[in-house]
Symmetry: C2
Amino acid sequence: MAVIPMWMCDRDNSMHESKKEADAHDKLLELAEQFTMLMEENLKGVDEKQAEEFGLLLARNKDKVVQACKGKPDALNDLLVEDGAKVTPTKAAKK
Amino acid sequence: MAVIPMWMCDRDNSMHESKKEADAHDKLLELAEQFTMLMEENLKGVDEKQAEEFGLLLARNKDKVVQACKGKPDALNDLLVEDGAKVTPTKAAKK
């Protein structure tokens, strides 16, 4: 059988078929972590899980964040509708 | 006595000596509000005051946010040190 080279991103142990993809994923997680760290430092008592997911939301939509910062603040509006509903805690809340 | 034209930004009733300055201030507040709205939608139960101040922190440092999104995530590190301490609730916490 064939053996296929894969690339693991050690930030979250995710597997990727190309180095490029793994690098992009690593950069995404790094940016997310930076936003989350900033949040945790400035929003005392913020829920860690939510801060992580909000960091990911910003990192995943970094193009829109850049647009907003470059004079089109309402570019962030798309995140309110588009991603707003999707950011739910990944593990179902224990009853 | 002289009468001097001033420009008021109606988002926070701040007064500015030039239209350019007032416009820049208005854009800053608009960007801050967008970040804050996004936060309040995604961080259920986040403290409103903190969300407002964090929105302002990002808006005030939008150049660093753009740098981070464009491949230099550690640009946000400067905000951890530089602004980290300054973002304290404006009114002293009641004892």
